[in-house]
Symmetry: C2
Subunit: 739 residues, 2 copies
């Protein structure tokens, strides 16, 4: 008879569930929150279907009342979620309307934020009335606090009204209460445990698909070619920016009124620096799509903005660790600093390795089994392995988001080549959709939370300083970075373009998620408010103004149609000729090949398409951008890191993890032949060399994802307007050479 | 300064988080659970990557200890989930292996259950050691119990060890505790709040995609044609079976030893009857796919097994309501019974209507906007609307699962026709994958929970009786049902086939979810154990033995390959010829048209494909199976309900909700012309009639989803082995006519 347990039906995570009169009991504080708006929302949604069936409850018993309470609680949770789902559906429809009417003064994420703000304001001012009753308790009998930690559960005997229950004749029932957290201000009459989503939802549910998709859809060739530069600028740049902002903010805050300056330590401002430094890949992507920018630069900036999210999350974790574990005083200590530094690097690298290892493991699974015969199983395996990367990293106290990013990159780089056509489509489409929904959700939520999150703390001085510092941080990233780039870049990045880069430094999901993660202290609440405002401002205003600025800075938007069509045609025809001989690589999306064998098709394309683009396409070389050079010039112009990696990848990684040629039999020393034979599939051996080379050039021709997208849209008969980015590099190349 | 709140970082839902010595404090009970196995699991997973970084924590403060506790808690949750994800990945790989080697003695869901059992046993016996500390408390000062309900939160002052914190010099902190539920057995030393997943997870996360997919992929034409029969048998049959099992069980239980019979009321056994009655559509689907059964019968059985899930959940809800709200004594009362009955019907119908309405709303949205120009937006809208159906039903206290089922049916019947090709693929693939993952998760979980769920209560007598009753319940469904069917069916359902139907009555996800939802009382725990065992037995043994039984009953499995190829070829060629003229309906998947205009292409197909199938295909007519008859015989052979619905659907619903012809301008009376014009799109008007008829026949030719699947797999170059069910009806038709 093992029923010494708690009724799971009565479990409640959100305790603001009751209409009840405020009572005069001295130990019962009541607050009114968030109930009336829900009714209002129901009306607002205006669905006549909402037949609110009153629970037919002759509530004579505490049990029944508790049951009704649990039911009501469930309804309210559903309603909360429903509001967000409707909000998202509305956003989707409006995005379509905007795209349909070619509205360019508002970016789609800006739209989500604005809708969020409107709904948040309605929720806030439509009246709230949920009641939460709490009671001060003390241990029964003589308290024995023998432990450092408070107990996990409290058992509380409560006299119930017994009218018709026959099972427990005594009028006392014992209820379990679960530990929740510290009450910081006992006098304050407000406790709002769950009026908003648990911030951890962002880190465990919303961010992983966004970051995975960023990795999965990263242009891998250009990413790997610029790997050294991207890593340096993501890590060094973001860290520098964080410390600069942190230091500057600290100075400013200390000049502010006492109540603010006393609540901020240097660690707090440093944390703020770390969370406000990363830029949002999404918005940069969208704006650069309009820009149709040089692919190398595009990969550089996109790669950096994806990676700096990863850097920021690890950096902020290290800063927090420093404050909590290593330092006793909150002031600078060399040992603590070094420990945090080693934390930062070890967590980042280990997360990276876990992600890469899981990606490679998936590649091996898909290579050495014939699971591709059953696309559904294959897709399921792909999704499960990717998700388990996140969980594995979290379970080993590393950073799941970072692991998932590198897992995504490896999945795209290796596993994708082993997948069946069906699975390629399916995984791409699923993560695209997940990414879209997650992104819009987070931006809607940023809007809603401006009004509903109870822990905002507005301070004009801090907010203004934060805006200035965020701009400075971005400037520190863009201008010195461009200067460094320009030293070895032949077509310099024009100053206009630098301004554009500076202007495109929108803050997004990661900043907000990091800010809302911890809102215990005054300082943290002030930071959250500032961050929310910065995100909203940058996304709505900067995102919306990007198009105007493009005109104002005289950066030509897009390529003239004939060039694009020519390009398109050329790519398409080459693609078609490839199609017959090698069907499984016919979809250029995500196809890529590293190292020595690349560049041939590209040169052919750029040489034959449009003669006035020829030189400019071959232009951006040098250490950071040797991508468009053909094989003839390839070896001595690529960065050393990229070259080493490329060679290693082509010789060992690709043959091991995919079906590509040359096989390990050819690249490994003779003594390793038995192992090499074991790791080489029949499919790899039976491919003939010419086919292999074709695959190579194919993947090189399909310049980036967008080209691939354009092609597949062509193929499926989709519509104009969504086929973007074909020939992007041309326009910038022209900008660059014009200077 | 609004920080009167609870630190969200310290929030914890799963309180079994600490290694700690058991203490001698009289008010501190400690239990050891579920920790050591987690360490064991980590080792078991054997990933050398799991660098367990010890938190570098100089834990001198309660804050830091709490923080470490929260971190550890998060790690353990991740690890729990990771175990399941790995389990699923392993299942996927093994399923592939089984399919690859054509192992037929174990069904894939059976595999998931068995893996679950193994992992559950490892978890159980690998040792557990999580500690949960609880403390008995009482109100501070003089208690004032002015309320019927216990308070939502308790505030508990706890003295903390202060060593380096400077913010709160007094050594007392206040912690909040959240209401969780009733403790039923105070003396028992065991409390295990979250060693398992919250049962509500099944109803809110796992079941909706499964049920939605069942609706979305239901063969709609045959489903609607047999609507009356399906509804009657799903509602009447399931209710009858539930009451029969309930009554029989009650009788048996009363004959059992006193401790058992006293804990069971008639309502309990009735609830058991309701939860054990529904059969699992998944396994029936899989087995019937092997059977390649007559499409009408297939639709009838599949439709019934999908609907009886819906009926069972509403029925069990009504029974529970009866017990909790309406009846004071637990004995029979006419008023209470009638109220429950009205509950049952009103909840079912309202849920159905909400589902259908939301489906139609989505259809209208996709018809009257050009959101199909942007497939990603369109897919997102589709997913959001479908999910909001579930939330809306739950928020209005209806049954989300039922709403989602009918939403799925409407989405497939109307919305699907408006979607772009890309969205059709994407939505189908996404829900297919979700369904696959959810199904395998639930079956794995059934296995795992046999060992880890703390509330099992084994009673051999009850279990044996339950097995017998479940078999009787299934027999009551199958044999009288078949007898009724045979009255008007020309090719009788053979007795062998009836045995097969009886044997295929596996119990699945819904039974388990309903059983685990409420495990407060002894009776409920006994029922859970019996249900788990029945599910495991039926899925593993019956599912595995199905193939042997097929041979033993001399039911031919599958059609010989040449027939299938012929069929396939024929369908394919017609499909191709259609492709040019009407691209958006070229994918036959889910295409269907109701009512008068159907049947022409079918006759052409069956007449031309394979002459020895001709008569048998036209065979199964009568009230329940007039599907394969051509237009010439259509009107007088179809069931009245199906005919009325078909007419209404073709005349009003389809023209309103899709782009199909005839338009509302033609079907509505002349006086309504302005409205009709408003509701008719240009696309509808510009379609010419011949094209319309082609669409019709196209959708009729593509007999069912599986045919569609086969086609799309052909088109994407997928592999043999997954293209199932083409020509299924032929084989059974031959079985039927043989008798």
């Amino acid at each position: 008879m093992s029923h010494g347990d708690v009724d799971p039906e009565l479990e409640m995570t959100s305790p603001h569930w009751m209409h009840r009169e405020a009572e005069s009991c001295p130990r019962m504080h009541t607050i009114w929150r968030l109930e009336r708006w829900r009714s209002s929302m129901l009306l607002l949604i205006g669905l006549a279907l909402c037949v609110l069936r009153a629970p037919g409850c002759s509530a004579t018993d505490t049990d029944i009342a508790l049951d009704a309470k649990a039911t009501l609680n469930h309804r309210i949770q559903s309603l909360d979620l429903l509001v967000f789902v409707f909000l998202l559906a509305l956003t989707v429809l409006t995005i379509w309307l905007f795209k349909h009417h070619r509205v360019s003064w508002l970016h789609e994420t800006g739209l989500a934020v604005i809708y969020g703000l409107i709904v948040g304001a309605i929720i806030r001012y439509a009246g709230t009335s949920a009641t939460l009753v709490h009671m001060q308790v003390e241990p029964q009998g003589v308290p024995t606090y023998s432990d450092k930690l408070p107990p996990d559960t409290l058992w509380f005997r409560y006299p119930v009204n017994q009218t018709n229950s026959t099972k427990l004749p005594e009028g006392i029932k014992t209820y379990a209460y679960v530990f929740r957290g510290q009450v910081h201000d006992v006098d304050e009459n407000e406790i709002d445990l769950k009026a908003t989503f648990d911030p951890e939802v962002f880190f465990n549910i919303i961010l992983p698909p966004i970051i995975f998709y960023a990795g999965y859809s990263l242009k891998k060739k250009y990413f790997f070619r610029n790997l050294g530069a991207i890593l340096t600028f993501a890590i060094v740049g973001t860290t520098l920016s964080a410390f600069l902002i942190g230091g500057f903010m600290y100075g400013c805050v200390k000049l502010m009124p006492n109540y603010l300056s006393s609540s901020f330590s240097f660690l707090d401002t440093l944390y703020f620096g770390a969370l406000i430094s990363p830029t949002d890949p999404l918005t940069i992507l969208a704006i650069f799509n309009d820009l149709r920018v040089d692919v190398n630069l595009y990969a550089l900036v996109l790669g950096e903005s994806v990676l700096n999210d990863a850097v920021a999350i690890v950096l902020s974790g290290a800063i927090q660790n420093y404050g909590e574990h290593y330092s006793d005083t909150g002031e600078f200590e060399t040992t603590a600093f070094l420990r945090s530094l080693s934390d930062f690097f070890s967590i980042f690298l280990l997360s990276l390795m876990i992600g890469a290892a899981m990606g490679c493991l998936t590649a091996l699974m898909t290579k050495f089994t014939r699971v591709r015969d059953f696309p559904l199983l294959e897709s399921a395996l792909f999704v499960l392995m990717s998700y388990s990367t996140f969980l594995l990293a979290e379970a080993t106290e590393l950073t799941g988001v970072v692991a998932v990013l590198f897992c995504g990159i490896c999945q795209a780089h290796y596993t994708y080549n082993n997948l069946s056509e069906d699975s390629r489509q399916r995984t791409k489409q699923i993560f695209e959709l997940l990414n879209f929904l997650a992104e819009n959700f987070i931006f809607s939520y940023i809007g809603v939370s401006m009004f509903t999150f109870p822990k905002h703390h507005f301070d004009a001085g801090f907010i203004i300083t934060a805006f200035i510092c965020a701009a400075i941080g971005r400037a520190v990233n863009v201008y010195p970075l461009s200067w460094l780039l320009n030293i070895r870049r032949k077509p310099k990045i024009s100053s206009n373009f630098q301004h554009m880069l500076f202007f495109a430094g929108l803050r997004g999901a990661m900043s907000f998620a990091l800010a809302i993660r911890n809102t215990v202290s005054d300082a943290r609440q002030t930071m959250l408010t500032a961050t929310s405002l910065i995100v909203i401002f940058t996304v709505v205003i900067q995102g919306g103004a990007a198009n105007f600025l493009l005109n104002w800075l005289k950066i030509p938007v897009g390529v003239d149609d004939e060039t694009e069509q020519l390009n398109n045609y050329q790519v398409h025809s080459v693609y078609n000729s490839m199609d017959n001989s090698h069907p499984q690589t016919s979809d250029g999306y995500l196809q890529d090949v590293e190292g020595g064998g690349v560049g041939r098709g590209k040169v052919r394309l750029s040489g034959g398409t449009d003669s006035n683009l020829d030189t400019s396409v071959d232009g951006p070389n040098g250490s950071l951008g040797g991508a468009s050079s053909g094989r003839r010039r390839n070896s001595h112009e690529k960065a050393i890191l990229a070259r080493i990696w490329g060679n290693f990848d082509t010789k060992y990684m690709k043959p091991l993890l995919t079906h590509s040629r040359p096989t390990l039999l050819e690249t490994l020393p003779v003594c390793c032949n038995p192992i090499a034979r074991l790791l080489t599939t029949t499919q790899q051996l039976t491919q003939d060399g010419s086919e292999f080379r074709r695959v190579d050039s194919d993947s090189d021709i399909c310049i980036d994802n967008d080209t691939g997208n354009g092609l597949s849209q062509d193929a499926t008969g989709a519509v104009p307007g969504s086929g973007v980015g074909v020939g992007r590099r041309n326009s910038l190349s022209r900008i660059l050479t014009r200077d």
